[in-house]
Amino acid sequence: AQSVSQHNHHVILSEAASLELGCNYSYGGTVNLFWYVQYPGQHLQLLLKYFSGDPLVKGIKGFEAEFIKSKFSFNLRKPSVQWSDTAEYFCAVRRSGNTGKLIFGQGTTLQVKP
């Protein structure tokens, strides 16, 4: 069955530390890839997305992600986190050409200590 795995369930970092959150998916066809963020008590917001082209995509708030097709991965990175980055991060995959259904990973809780 198609799945999305986020390896880190809970990450604790100090401010200014670098961040990398892993995301792997199991589907072998063409995919669209997304990272969403959910700040405490808020709805999901799109951080960045990959459809095609340059596999290194830049999103909002200094986040970026790299699509590595051979590894079925779409890891999220930020060189220097801030306390305000404390949130839940979700990787999501959509199979190209299907009905638009997003398959989400189980989420990673990021806690940034001031």
């Binding site: 669209n32 997304f34 969403y36 808020q42 709805h43 999901l44 917001q45 799109l46 997305k49 459809f51 839940e88 979700f90 959509r94 009905t99 638009g100 259904k101 997003l102 398959i103 989400f104 189980q106 989420g107 809780t109």
Partner: protein
């Protein structure tokens, strides 16, 4: 200027009751979705409608019935509520594929607690 709105934000009810959650989007999108986020924060799609037509139904119990009176609204009605229905329910919408954008925009969520 709310894009995707849901009501109510919180819903506390007894087992066996019937309740509805409403969703509206003012983005002009054609496709709307319902997702369920469980206590472990896992998000899973339940339904999707495109121009009032059901296109995704993910093995959800038939106690859950979505209703789309027009393409800007997708309501979720739940009959005979069970403890396991307690979760946060998110509505989302997305523009047509032809516009080139298939990002989904999410509502603020409805936290349902079944006692």
């Amino acid at each position: 200027d709310t894009a995707v709105s849901q009501t109510p934000k919180y819903l506390v009810t007894q087992m066996g009751n019937d309740k509805s959650i409403k969703c509206e989007q003012n983005l002009g999108h054609d496709t709307m979705y319902w997702y369920k986020q469980d206590s472990k924060k896992f998000l899973k799609i339940m339904f999707s409608y495109n121009n009032k037509e059901l296109i995704i139904n993910e093995t959800v119990p038939n106690r859950f019935s979505p209703k789309s009176p027009d393409k800007a609204h997708l309501n979720l009605h739940i009959n005979s509520l069970e403890l396991g229905d307690s979760a946060v329910y998110f509505c989302a919408s997305s523009p047509p594929r032809s516009s080139g954008g298939n990002e989904q925009f999410f509502g603020p969520g409805t936290r349902l607690t079944v006692l």
